[in-house]
Protein backbone atom coordinates (compact mmCIF):
# COMPACT_ATOMS: atom_id res chain seq x y z
CA UNK A 1 0.00 0.00 0.00
CA UNK A 2 1.35 3.38 -0.91
CA UNK A 3 2.08 5.87 1.81
CA UNK A 4 -0.41 8.32 0.32
CA UNK A 5 -3.09 5.69 0.57
CA UNK A 6 -2.11 4.86 4.14
CA UNK A 7 -2.28 8.49 5.09
CA UNK A 8 -5.70 8.79 3.47
CA UNK A 9 -6.90 5.76 5.38
CA UNK A 10 -5.51 6.92 8.67
CA UNK A 11 -7.06 10.31 8.07
CA UNK A 12 -10.43 8.66 7.60
CA UNK A 13 -9.88 6.62 10.73
CA UNK A 14 -8.90 9.66 12.73
CA UNK A 15 -12.14 11.26 11.60
CA UNK A 16 -14.06 8.21 12.69
CA UNK A 17 -12.34 8.08 16.07
CA UNK A 18 -13.52 11.61 16.60
CA UNK A 19 -17.03 10.70 15.47
CA UNK A 20 -16.95 7.65 17.75
CA UNK A 21 -16.07 9.83 20.73
CA UNK A 22 -18.79 12.27 19.77
CA UNK A 23 -21.27 9.46 19.28
CA UNK A 24 -20.64 8.07 22.74
CA UNK A 25 -21.10 11.52 24.22
CA UNK A 26 -24.40 11.92 22.43
CA UNK A 27 -25.52 8.51 23.65
CA UNK A 28 -24.66 9.70 27.14
CA UNK A 29 -27.23 12.43 26.69
CA UNK A 30 -29.88 9.75 27.19
CA UNK A 31 -28.79 9.74 30.81
CA UNK A 32 -29.08 13.50 30.78
CA UNK A 33 -32.67 13.40 29.68
CA UNK A 34 -33.38 10.58 32.11
CA UNK A 35 -32.27 12.58 35.10
CA UNK A 36 -33.64 15.90 33.97
CA UNK A 37 -37.05 14.29 33.72
CA UNK A 38 -36.79 12.20 36.85
CA UNK A 39 -35.68 15.20 38.85
CA UNK A 40 -38.55 17.29 37.55
CA UNK A 41 -41.08 14.54 38.40
CA UNK A 42 -42.58 13.84 41.78
CA UNK A 43 -41.09 10.85 43.53
CA UNK A 44 -44.07 8.66 42.77
CA UNK A 45 -43.05 8.90 39.11
CA UNK A 46 -39.30 8.48 39.47
CA UNK A 47 -38.93 4.90 38.34
CA UNK A 48 -40.93 5.16 35.17
CA UNK A 49 -38.37 7.63 33.82
CA UNK A 50 -35.76 4.91 33.88
CA UNK A 51 -37.89 2.36 32.09
CA UNK A 52 -39.01 4.98 29.60
CA UNK A 53 -35.51 5.95 28.51
CA UNK A 54 -34.32 2.36 28.24
CA UNK A 55 -37.31 1.20 26.21
CA UNK A 56 -37.34 4.27 23.98
CA UNK A 57 -33.65 4.10 23.29
CA UNK A 58 -34.01 0.41 22.45
CA UNK A 59 -36.98 0.77 20.14
CA UNK A 60 -35.52 3.78 18.44
CA UNK A 61 -32.34 1.80 17.77
CA UNK A 62 -34.14 -1.02 16.05
CA UNK A 63 -36.45 1.31 14.10
CA UNK A 64 -33.51 3.36 12.89
CA UNK A 65 -31.56 0.28 11.90
CA UNK A 66 -34.46 -1.29 10.05
CA UNK A 67 -36.03 1.74 8.39
CA UNK A 68 -35.10 5.18 9.66
CA UNK A 69 -31.50 5.30 8.56
CA UNK A 70 -32.49 4.35 5.04
CA UNK A 71 -35.05 7.12 4.84
CA UNK A 72 -32.71 9.70 6.32
CA UNK A 73 -29.45 8.95 4.63
CA UNK A 74 -30.22 6.47 1.89
CA UNK A 75 -29.97 8.93 -1.01
CA UNK A 76 -33.23 8.60 -2.92
CA UNK A 77 -35.39 11.57 -3.79
CA UNK A 78 -36.05 14.92 -2.15
CA UNK A 79 -38.54 13.44 0.29
CA UNK A 80 -36.99 10.19 1.47
CA UNK A 81 -34.00 7.96 1.04
CA UNK A 82 -34.49 4.55 -0.54
CA UNK A 83 -31.55 2.39 0.46
CA UNK A 84 -29.88 1.19 3.65
CA UNK A 85 -32.86 -0.55 5.20
CA UNK A 86 -32.01 -3.29 7.66
CA UNK A 87 -28.51 -1.94 7.49
CA UNK A 88 -26.11 -4.77 6.70
CA UNK A 89 -22.79 -5.67 5.28
CA UNK A 90 -22.48 -5.90 1.49
CA UNK A 91 -25.27 -3.40 1.12
CA UNK A 92 -25.16 -0.28 -1.01
CA UNK A 93 -26.38 2.86 0.69
CA UNK A 94 -26.82 5.97 -1.44
CA UNK A 95 -24.55 4.40 -3.98
CA UNK A 96 -21.71 3.45 -1.65
CA UNK A 97 -20.84 0.08 -0.24
CA UNK A 98 -21.21 -0.19 3.50
CA UNK A 99 -17.92 0.00 5.49
CA UNK A 100 -16.88 0.40 9.08
CA UNK A 101 -17.05 4.12 8.47
CA UNK A 102 -20.64 3.86 7.27
CA UNK A 103 -21.51 1.90 10.39
CA UNK A 104 -19.95 4.56 12.59
CA UNK A 105 -21.84 7.36 10.87
CA UNK A 106 -25.05 5.39 10.93
CA UNK A 107 -24.65 4.96 14.67
CA UNK A 108 -23.94 8.65 15.10
CA UNK A 109 -27.15 9.39 13.20
CA UNK A 110 -29.01 7.10 15.58
CA UNK A 111 -27.66 9.02 18.55
CA UNK A 112 -29.23 12.20 17.18
CA UNK A 113 -32.52 10.50 16.46
CA UNK A 114 -32.62 9.16 20.02
CA UNK A 115 -31.96 12.61 21.46
CA UNK A 116 -34.77 14.07 19.41
CA UNK A 117 -37.13 11.34 20.62
CA UNK A 118 -36.10 11.86 24.23
CA UNK A 119 -37.11 15.51 23.98
CA UNK A 120 -40.66 14.58 23.02
CA UNK A 121 -41.53 13.14 26.40
CA UNK A 122 -40.67 16.19 28.46
CA UNK A 123 -44.21 17.48 28.21
CA UNK A 124 -45.86 14.19 28.97
CA UNK A 125 -44.45 13.35 32.38
CA UNK A 126 -46.49 11.88 35.20
CA UNK A 127 -49.60 10.95 33.20
CA UNK A 128 -48.89 9.21 29.90
CA UNK A 129 -49.49 5.51 29.33
CA UNK A 130 -46.36 3.48 28.91
CA UNK A 131 -47.68 1.91 25.73
CA UNK A 132 -47.66 5.30 24.04
CA UNK A 133 -43.89 5.37 24.23
CA UNK A 134 -43.65 2.10 22.41
CA UNK A 135 -45.87 3.04 19.50
CA UNK A 136 -44.65 6.56 18.97
CA UNK A 137 -41.01 5.55 19.29
CA UNK A 138 -41.42 3.23 16.33
CA UNK A 139 -43.02 5.90 14.17
CA UNK A 140 -40.55 8.52 15.30
CA UNK A 141 -37.43 6.44 14.77
CA UNK A 142 -38.58 4.98 11.49
CA UNK A 143 -40.33 7.93 9.88
CA UNK A 144 -40.64 11.30 11.61
CA UNK A 145 -37.08 12.15 12.47
CA UNK A 146 -35.69 10.51 9.31
CA UNK A 147 -37.90 12.65 7.07
CA UNK A 148 -36.69 15.86 8.68
CA UNK A 149 -33.08 14.73 8.73
CA UNK A 150 -33.33 13.74 5.08
CA UNK A 151 -34.77 17.11 4.13
CA UNK A 152 -31.91 19.08 5.65
CA UNK A 153 -28.93 16.78 5.82
CA UNK A 154 -29.74 13.95 3.44
CA UNK A 155 -29.92 15.95 0.25
CA UNK A 156 -33.66 16.50 0.53
CA UNK A 157 -35.98 19.44 0.01
CA UNK A 158 -34.30 21.87 2.39
CA UNK A 159 -30.78 21.28 1.22
CA UNK A 160 -31.36 23.52 -1.76
CA UNK A 161 -34.02 26.21 -1.72
CA UNK A 162 -33.49 28.36 -4.73
CA UNK A 163 -29.81 27.58 -4.54
CA UNK A 164 -29.49 28.24 -0.83
CA UNK A 165 -29.17 25.43 1.65
CA UNK A 166 -30.64 25.55 5.12
CA UNK A 167 -27.77 25.87 7.55
CA UNK A 168 -28.41 23.81 10.63
CA UNK A 169 -25.03 22.72 11.89
CA UNK A 170 -26.02 20.10 14.44
CA UNK A 171 -29.78 20.37 14.51
CA UNK A 172 -31.38 23.25 16.42
CA UNK A 173 -34.24 22.57 14.08
CA UNK A 174 -33.69 19.02 12.83
CA UNK A 175 -33.23 17.55 16.29
CA UNK A 176 -34.50 19.96 18.92
CA UNK A 177 -37.41 21.64 17.24
CA UNK A 178 -38.50 18.26 15.91
CA UNK A 179 -38.55 16.84 19.42
CA UNK A 180 -40.35 19.86 20.80
CA UNK A 181 -43.04 19.75 18.12
CA UNK A 182 -43.66 16.08 18.90
CA UNK A 183 -43.88 17.16 22.53
CA UNK A 184 -46.46 19.79 21.66
CA UNK A 185 -48.61 17.32 19.75
CA UNK A 186 -48.53 14.90 22.66
CA UNK A 187 -49.35 17.63 25.13
CA UNK A 188 -52.35 18.91 23.22
CA UNK A 189 -53.96 15.50 23.31
CA UNK A 190 -52.91 14.69 26.85
CA UNK A 191 -53.90 17.79 28.78
CA UNK A 192 -52.34 18.96 32.02
CA UNK A 193 -51.54 16.88 35.11
CA UNK A 194 -54.30 16.65 37.66
CA UNK A 195 -54.03 19.58 40.02
CA UNK A 196 -51.87 21.69 37.74
CA UNK A 197 -54.59 24.30 37.32
CA UNK A 198 -57.02 25.37 40.01
CA UNK A 199 -60.73 25.94 39.55
CA UNK A 200 -60.05 29.37 38.12
CA UNK A 201 -57.52 27.99 35.67
CA UNK A 202 -54.55 29.48 37.47
CA UNK A 203 -51.39 27.36 37.28
CA UNK A 204 -50.00 25.79 40.43
CA UNK A 205 -46.37 24.83 40.88
CA UNK A 206 -45.88 21.07 41.04
CA UNK A 207 -42.26 20.84 42.12
CA UNK A 208 -40.16 17.97 40.91
CA UNK A 209 -38.67 15.87 43.65
CA UNK A 210 -34.93 16.25 43.24
CA UNK A 211 -32.92 19.23 42.14
CA UNK A 212 -29.66 17.25 42.44
CA UNK A 213 -30.95 14.84 39.81
CA UNK A 214 -31.97 17.77 37.63
CA UNK A 215 -28.43 19.06 38.04
CA UNK A 216 -27.02 15.70 37.05
CA UNK A 217 -29.19 15.73 33.95
CA UNK A 218 -28.19 19.24 32.96
CA UNK A 219 -24.50 18.73 33.32
CA UNK A 220 -24.57 15.42 31.45
CA UNK A 221 -26.45 17.10 28.62
CA UNK A 222 -23.99 19.98 28.61
CA UNK A 223 -21.04 17.60 28.37
CA UNK A 224 -22.82 15.52 25.76
CA UNK A 225 -23.28 18.59 23.62
CA UNK A 226 -19.58 18.72 22.87
CA UNK A 227 -20.15 15.48 21.02
CA UNK A 228 -23.36 16.75 19.57
CA UNK A 229 -21.94 19.92 18.06
CA UNK A 230 -18.27 19.05 18.04
CA UNK A 231 -18.82 15.75 16.26
CA UNK A 232 -20.99 17.34 13.60
CA UNK A 233 -17.82 18.35 11.84
CA UNK A 234 -17.56 14.65 10.96
CA UNK A 235 -13.86 15.16 10.54
CA UNK A 236 -10.90 16.82 12.12
CA UNK A 237 -9.51 19.16 9.45
CA UNK A 238 -7.82 22.20 10.87
CA UNK A 239 -9.16 21.13 14.27
CA UNK A 240 -12.27 23.04 13.37
CA UNK A 241 -14.11 21.07 16.03
CA UNK A 242 -12.23 23.21 18.52
CA UNK A 243 -13.97 26.30 17.21
CA UNK A 244 -17.31 24.57 17.35
CA UNK A 245 -16.74 23.41 20.90
CA UNK A 246 -15.70 26.86 22.06
CA UNK A 247 -18.83 28.38 20.54
CA UNK A 248 -20.85 25.71 22.30
CA UNK A 249 -19.33 26.47 25.67
CA UNK A 250 -19.71 30.23 25.32
CA UNK A 251 -23.38 29.95 24.43
CA UNK A 252 -24.13 27.51 27.22
CA UNK A 253 -22.46 29.80 29.73
CA UNK A 254 -24.35 32.81 28.46
CA UNK A 255 -27.57 30.79 28.58
CA UNK A 256 -27.08 30.09 32.28
CA UNK A 257 -26.28 33.71 32.97
CA UNK A 258 -29.25 34.98 30.96
CA UNK A 259 -31.73 32.66 32.58
CA UNK A 260 -30.40 33.04 36.12
CA UNK A 261 -30.41 36.79 35.87
CA UNK A 262 -33.88 36.92 34.36
CA UNK A 263 -35.40 34.64 36.96
CA UNK A 264 -33.57 36.41 39.76
CA UNK A 265 -34.77 39.81 38.66
CA UNK A 266 -38.32 38.50 38.45
CA UNK A 267 -38.38 36.80 41.83
CA UNK A 268 -35.20 37.39 43.86
CA UNK A 269 -34.43 33.71 43.74
CA UNK A 270 -31.97 31.89 41.50
CA UNK A 271 -34.34 29.09 40.58
CA UNK A 272 -32.29 25.93 40.22
CA UNK A 273 -34.37 24.44 37.44
CA UNK A 274 -34.37 27.66 35.48
CA UNK A 275 -30.59 27.94 35.65
CA UNK A 276 -30.53 24.45 34.18
CA UNK A 277 -33.07 25.33 31.52
CA UNK A 278 -30.89 28.31 30.66
CA UNK A 279 -27.94 26.05 29.99
CA UNK A 280 -30.04 23.81 27.80
CA UNK A 281 -31.55 26.75 25.94
CA UNK A 282 -28.13 28.24 25.29
CA UNK A 283 -26.96 24.90 23.97
CA UNK A 284 -30.01 24.38 21.80
CA UNK A 285 -29.64 27.92 20.50
CA UNK A 286 -26.02 27.40 19.45
CA UNK A 287 -26.68 23.99 17.90
CA UNK A 288 -27.55 25.32 14.45
CA UNK A 289 -25.00 28.18 14.42
CA UNK A 290 -22.11 26.37 16.14
CA UNK A 291 -20.09 25.93 12.96
CA UNK A 292 -21.22 29.07 11.17
CA UNK A 293 -20.65 31.94 13.59
CA UNK A 294 -17.73 33.78 15.17
CA UNK A 295 -16.92 33.50 18.86
CA UNK A 296 -18.36 36.89 19.70
CA UNK A 297 -21.77 35.85 18.43
CA UNK A 298 -22.00 32.73 20.57
CA UNK A 299 -22.52 34.44 23.95
CA UNK A 300 -25.13 36.71 22.38
CA UNK A 301 -27.04 33.75 20.97
CA UNK A 302 -26.83 31.95 24.27
CA UNK A 303 -27.84 34.95 26.33
CA UNK A 304 -30.93 35.57 24.24
CA UNK A 305 -31.86 31.90 24.48
CA UNK A 306 -31.41 31.95 28.24
CA UNK A 307 -33.59 34.99 28.79
CA UNK A 308 -36.13 33.70 26.30
CA UNK A 309 -36.51 30.40 28.09
CA UNK A 310 -37.47 32.04 31.37
CA UNK A 311 -40.22 34.15 29.90
CA UNK A 312 -41.38 31.32 27.67
CA UNK A 313 -41.64 28.89 30.57
CA UNK A 314 -43.67 31.39 32.55
CA UNK A 315 -45.95 32.22 29.65
CA UNK A 316 -46.47 28.64 28.53
CA UNK A 317 -47.15 27.50 32.09
CA UNK A 318 -50.22 29.74 32.14
CA UNK A 319 -51.89 27.68 29.46
CA UNK A 320 -50.34 24.26 29.04
CA UNK A 321 -48.50 21.94 31.38
CA UNK A 322 -44.92 21.34 30.32
CA UNK A 323 -43.15 20.01 33.44
CA UNK A 324 -39.58 20.25 32.17
CA UNK A 325 -39.92 23.22 29.86
CA UNK A 326 -39.29 21.24 26.68
CA UNK A 327 -41.40 23.54 24.52
CA UNK A 328 -39.33 26.50 25.64
CA UNK A 329 -35.86 25.05 25.94
CA UNK A 330 -35.93 22.90 22.84
CA UNK A 331 -38.76 24.41 20.80
CA UNK A 332 -38.40 28.16 21.06
CA UNK A 333 -34.67 28.03 21.59
CA UNK A 334 -34.47 25.70 18.59
CA UNK A 335 -36.32 28.22 16.44
CA UNK A 336 -34.15 31.00 17.75
CA UNK A 337 -31.01 29.01 16.97
CA UNK A 338 -32.12 28.26 13.44
CA UNK A 339 -32.92 31.91 12.77
CA UNK A 340 -29.77 33.07 14.54
CA UNK A 341 -27.75 31.49 11.75
CA UNK A 342 -29.48 33.88 9.40
CA UNK A 343 -28.44 36.75 11.60
CA UNK A 344 -24.90 35.87 12.61
CA UNK A 345 -23.52 33.44 10.00
CA UNK A 346 -20.00 34.57 9.21
CA UNK A 347 -18.98 34.89 5.57
CA UNK A 348 -15.88 32.79 6.20
CA UNK A 349 -17.88 29.90 7.60
CA UNK A 350 -21.10 29.61 5.60
CA UNK A 351 -21.99 26.60 3.49
CA UNK A 352 -21.52 26.74 -0.24
CA UNK A 353 -24.24 28.80 -1.83
CA UNK A 354 -25.58 30.12 1.44
CA UNK A 355 -25.95 33.78 2.36
CA UNK A 356 -24.17 35.40 5.29
CA UNK A 357 -26.03 36.56 8.33
CA UNK A 358 -27.94 39.83 8.41
CA UNK A 359 -25.30 41.30 10.66
CA UNK A 360 -22.74 41.14 7.90
CA UNK A 361 -25.25 42.59 5.48
CA UNK A 362 -25.95 45.51 7.77
CA UNK A 363 -22.58 46.19 9.34
CA UNK A 364 -20.36 44.51 6.77
CA UNK A 365 -19.90 44.31 3.05
CA UNK A 366 -22.07 41.29 2.40
CA UNK A 367 -25.16 41.43 0.22
CA UNK A 368 -28.16 42.32 2.32
CA UNK A 369 -30.49 40.66 -0.15
CA UNK A 370 -28.70 37.37 0.08
CA UNK A 371 -28.70 37.70 3.86
CA UNK A 372 -32.44 38.22 3.95
CA UNK A 373 -32.83 35.34 1.55
CA UNK A 374 -30.88 33.11 3.90
CA UNK A 375 -32.91 34.23 6.88
CA UNK A 376 -36.00 33.33 4.88
CA UNK A 377 -34.58 29.92 4.13
CA UNK A 378 -33.90 29.40 7.81
CA UNK A 379 -37.46 30.42 8.58
CA UNK A 380 -38.71 27.98 5.98
CA UNK A 381 -36.81 25.19 7.73
CA UNK A 382 -38.65 26.04 10.93
CA UNK A 383 -42.02 26.00 9.20
CA UNK A 384 -41.30 22.82 7.30
CA UNK A 385 -40.11 21.03 10.42
CA UNK A 386 -43.09 22.21 12.36
CA UNK A 387 -45.58 21.17 9.72
CA UNK A 388 -44.20 17.75 8.95
CA UNK A 389 -43.53 16.73 12.53
CA UNK A 390 -46.76 18.11 13.89
CA UNK A 391 -48.91 16.45 11.25
CA UNK A 392 -47.49 12.98 11.66
CA UNK A 393 -47.18 13.26 15.43
CA UNK A 394 -50.68 14.43 16.11
CA UNK A 395 -52.02 11.71 13.85
CA UNK A 396 -49.97 9.10 15.66
CA UNK A 397 -50.93 10.27 19.13
CA UNK A 398 -54.55 10.50 18.06
CA UNK A 399 -54.38 6.93 16.86
CA UNK A 400 -52.84 5.88 20.18
CA UNK A 401 -55.56 7.72 22.07
CA UNK A 402 -58.30 5.99 20.16
CA UNK A 403 -56.79 2.54 20.49
CA UNK A 404 -54.66 1.72 23.53
CA UNK A 405 -55.28 5.09 25.16
CA UNK A 406 -52.87 7.93 25.77
CA UNK A 407 -53.41 8.78 29.41
CA UNK A 408 -53.64 6.68 32.53
CA UNK A 409 -56.83 6.75 34.64
CA UNK A 410 -57.01 9.42 37.34
CA UNK A 411 -56.48 6.93 40.16
CA UNK A 412 -53.27 5.71 38.56
CA UNK A 413 -52.09 9.25 38.00
CA UNK A 414 -52.74 10.09 41.67
CA UNK A 415 -50.96 7.00 42.86
CA UNK A 416 -48.09 7.57 40.50
CA UNK A 417 -46.98 5.74 37.41
CA UNK A 418 -44.35 3.74 39.27
CA UNK A 419 -46.73 1.67 41.30
CA UNK A 420 -49.46 1.57 38.68
CA UNK A 421 -47.47 0.90 35.50
CA UNK A 422 -44.40 -0.77 36.91
CA UNK A 423 -45.76 -2.48 39.98
CA UNK A 424 -43.32 -0.89 42.41
CA UNK A 425 -42.34 2.56 43.61
CA UNK A 426 -39.16 4.05 42.25
CA UNK A 427 -38.05 4.55 45.84
CA UNK A 428 -39.70 1.54 47.48
CA UNK A 429 -38.62 2.50 50.97
CA UNK A 430 -39.77 6.08 50.86
CA UNK A 431 -42.74 6.84 53.01
CA UNK A 432 -44.83 7.96 50.10
CA UNK A 433 -46.93 10.90 51.24
CA UNK A 434 -49.24 10.55 48.32
CA UNK A 435 -52.80 9.68 47.63
CA UNK A 436 -53.14 5.99 48.09
CA UNK A 437 -53.60 3.51 45.31
CA UNK A 438 -56.23 0.98 46.11
CA UNK A 439 -54.66 -1.90 44.30
CA UNK A 440 -51.47 -2.90 42.60
CA UNK A 441 -51.74 -4.54 39.23
CA UNK A 442 -54.88 -6.40 38.16
CA UNK A 443 -55.74 -9.09 40.69
CA UNK A 444 -55.52 -11.83 38.10
CA UNK A 445 -51.90 -11.12 37.64
CA UNK A 446 -50.93 -10.61 41.22
CA UNK A 447 -49.85 -13.93 42.55
CA UNK A 448 -50.57 -14.48 46.22
CA UNK A 449 -48.02 -12.85 48.43
CA UNK A 450 -45.20 -15.05 49.54
CA UNK A 451 -45.42 -14.20 53.21
CA UNK A 452 -48.99 -15.09 54.02
CA UNK A 453 -52.19 -15.46 52.09
CA UNK A 454 -54.35 -12.39 52.41
CA UNK A 455 -56.87 -13.32 55.07
CA UNK A 456 -60.48 -13.43 53.96
CA UNK A 457 -61.71 -11.11 56.67
CA UNK A 458 -59.84 -8.25 55.15
CA UNK A 459 -61.78 -8.40 51.90
CA UNK A 460 -63.56 -5.19 50.94
CA UNK A 461 -67.00 -6.75 50.91
CA UNK A 462 -66.72 -7.51 54.60
CA UNK A 463 -69.14 -5.58 56.75
Amino acid sequence: MSLTQTVAEKTAELNMVWVAVACILVFLMQAGFMFLEIGFSRQKNAGTGVAKILVNFAICTIAWWAVGYGIAEGGGNEIFGDSGFFFHFDQTVAGELVTGETAMLMLYGLAFCAVSLAIVWGTTLERIKFGAYVVYAIVFGAVIYPLVAHAVWGGGLLSDIGGKPVMDFAGSSVVHLTGAVGALAALLLLGPRRGKYDAQGRPRAIPGHSMPLVGLGVIILWIGWFGFNGGSTFETSASFFGEVMLNTQLAAAAGVIGASLAVYLKGRAVDVGMAGNGAIAGLVGITAPAGFVEYWAAPIIGLVAGVLVVFAVLAIDKKVDDPVGALSAHGLAGIWGTLAVGIFASPRLISEGAGSGLWYGIFGDESLGSAFGQLGVQGLAVLFTFAVVFAISIATFFGIKKTIGLRVPAAEEDAGLDISSHGMYGYPEAFIPQPEYSTGLPEAVARPAASAPTPPRLAPEAG
Binding site: F431, P433, P435, S438, G440, R447, A449, T454, L458, A459
Partner: protein, 122 residues
Protein backbone atom coordinates in the same frame (compact mmCIF):
# COMPACT_ATOMS: atom_id res chain seq x y z
CA UNK B 1 -61.35 20.05 75.94
CA UNK B 2 -61.23 17.29 73.38
CA UNK B 3 -58.60 15.98 71.08
CA UNK B 4 -59.88 14.80 67.73
CA UNK B 5 -57.66 12.28 66.04
CA UNK B 6 -58.58 11.30 62.52
CA UNK B 7 -56.93 8.90 60.12
CA UNK B 8 -57.74 10.20 56.67
CA UNK B 9 -56.64 9.98 53.06
CA UNK B 10 -53.96 12.46 52.09
CA UNK B 11 -56.10 14.12 49.47
CA UNK B 12 -58.79 14.94 52.04
CA UNK B 13 -56.55 17.15 54.12
CA UNK B 14 -56.48 20.33 52.11
CA UNK B 15 -60.28 20.84 51.95
CA UNK B 16 -60.60 20.00 55.65
CA UNK B 17 -57.90 22.47 56.53
CA UNK B 18 -59.52 25.16 54.43
CA UNK B 19 -62.94 24.65 55.99
CA UNK B 20 -61.61 24.52 59.54
CA UNK B 21 -59.70 27.71 58.91
CA UNK B 22 -62.83 29.36 57.60
CA UNK B 23 -64.77 28.31 60.65
CA UNK B 24 -62.16 29.67 63.00
CA UNK B 25 -60.08 26.57 63.67
CA UNK B 26 -56.72 27.35 62.15
CA UNK B 27 -54.76 25.28 64.62
CA UNK B 28 -54.15 21.66 63.84
CA UNK B 29 -51.37 19.16 63.28
CA UNK B 30 -50.79 16.29 60.91
CA UNK B 31 -48.52 13.28 60.99
CA UNK B 32 -47.68 10.67 58.38
CA UNK B 33 -49.12 7.32 59.37
CA UNK B 34 -49.79 3.94 57.85
CA UNK B 35 -52.73 1.84 58.74
CA UNK B 36 -54.71 -1.25 58.10
CA UNK B 37 -58.41 -1.80 58.46
CA UNK B 38 -60.90 -3.27 56.08
CA UNK B 39 -58.90 -1.93 53.27
CA UNK B 40 -56.75 -4.58 51.65
CA UNK B 41 -53.04 -4.14 51.33
CA UNK B 42 -51.60 -3.79 47.89
CA UNK B 43 -49.42 -6.18 46.00
CA UNK B 44 -46.22 -4.74 44.68
CA UNK B 45 -44.17 -6.38 41.94
CA UNK B 46 -40.41 -6.41 41.87
CA UNK B 47 -38.17 -8.33 39.53
CA UNK B 48 -40.89 -10.88 38.95
CA UNK B 49 -41.62 -11.50 42.64
CA UNK B 50 -44.47 -10.01 44.59
CA UNK B 51 -44.62 -8.25 47.89
CA UNK B 52 -47.78 -7.60 49.83
CA UNK B 53 -47.84 -4.35 51.73
CA UNK B 54 -50.40 -4.66 54.49
CA UNK B 55 -50.51 -1.08 55.66
CA UNK B 56 -51.54 1.84 53.54
CA UNK B 57 -50.35 5.41 53.87
CA UNK B 58 -52.76 7.63 55.80
CA UNK B 59 -52.59 11.06 57.26
CA UNK B 60 -53.24 11.45 60.96
CA UNK B 61 -54.95 14.72 61.77
CA UNK B 62 -54.92 16.02 65.34
CA UNK B 63 -57.04 18.94 66.48
CA UNK B 64 -57.62 19.99 70.05
CA UNK B 65 -60.75 22.06 70.64
CA UNK B 66 -63.19 22.99 73.35
CA UNK B 67 -65.86 20.45 74.09
CA UNK B 68 -68.56 22.37 72.32
CA UNK B 69 -66.55 22.73 69.12
CA UNK B 70 -65.92 19.06 68.81
CA UNK B 71 -68.97 18.43 66.70
CA UNK B 72 -68.13 21.15 64.20
CA UNK B 73 -64.70 19.71 63.59
CA UNK B 74 -65.96 16.17 63.29
CA UNK B 75 -68.52 17.28 60.77
CA UNK B 76 -65.97 19.15 58.72
CA UNK B 77 -63.82 16.04 58.61
CA UNK B 78 -66.72 13.82 57.68
CA UNK B 79 -67.77 16.19 54.92
CA UNK B 80 -64.47 16.15 53.11
CA UNK B 81 -62.94 12.81 54.00
CA UNK B 82 -65.83 10.65 52.99
CA UNK B 83 -65.65 9.07 49.56
CA UNK B 84 -67.80 6.11 50.49
CA UNK B 85 -65.02 3.71 49.58
CA UNK B 86 -63.31 1.36 51.96
CA UNK B 87 -60.32 3.13 53.44
CA UNK B 88 -61.88 6.48 54.29
CA UNK B 89 -60.59 6.20 57.83
CA UNK B 90 -61.78 6.79 61.36
CA UNK B 91 -62.19 9.62 63.81
CA UNK B 92 -61.49 9.21 67.52
CA UNK B 93 -62.24 11.70 70.28
CA UNK B 94 -60.10 11.76 73.42
CA UNK B 95 -60.34 13.85 76.55
CA UNK B 96 -57.76 16.56 77.13
CA UNK B 97 -57.10 17.97 80.55
CA UNK B 98 -54.95 20.92 79.86
CA UNK B 99 -53.69 23.07 77.03
CA UNK B 100 -50.84 25.54 77.17
CA UNK B 101 -49.58 27.98 74.57
CA UNK B 102 -45.84 27.79 74.72
CA UNK B 103 -45.22 31.26 73.39
CA UNK B 104 -47.08 32.94 76.23
CA UNK B 105 -47.34 30.23 78.82
CA UNK B 106 -51.08 30.89 79.18
CA UNK B 107 -53.26 27.86 79.54
CA UNK B 108 -56.90 26.91 79.30
CA UNK B 109 -59.14 26.50 76.33
CA UNK B 110 -58.75 30.05 75.12
CA UNK B 111 -55.37 29.04 73.72
CA UNK B 112 -56.83 26.41 71.47
CA UNK B 113 -58.20 28.15 68.46
CA UNK B 114 -59.07 31.58 67.17
CA UNK B 115 -62.80 31.37 66.85
CA UNK B 116 -63.67 33.11 70.09
CA UNK B 117 -63.78 36.42 68.42
CA UNK B 118 -61.42 39.07 69.58
CA UNK B 119 -58.26 37.45 68.41
CA UNK B 120 -58.80 37.43 64.70
CA UNK B 121 -57.50 40.40 62.79
CA UNK B 122 -55.17 41.08 59.89
Amino acid sequence: MKKIEAFIRHEAFEPIRAELLDRGFPSLSILEAKGSGRQKGIVEHYRGSTLTVNVRPKLKLEVVVEDEDCQVVVEAILRHARTGEIGDGKIFVLPVEEAIRIRTGESGHEVLQLHDGAEASA
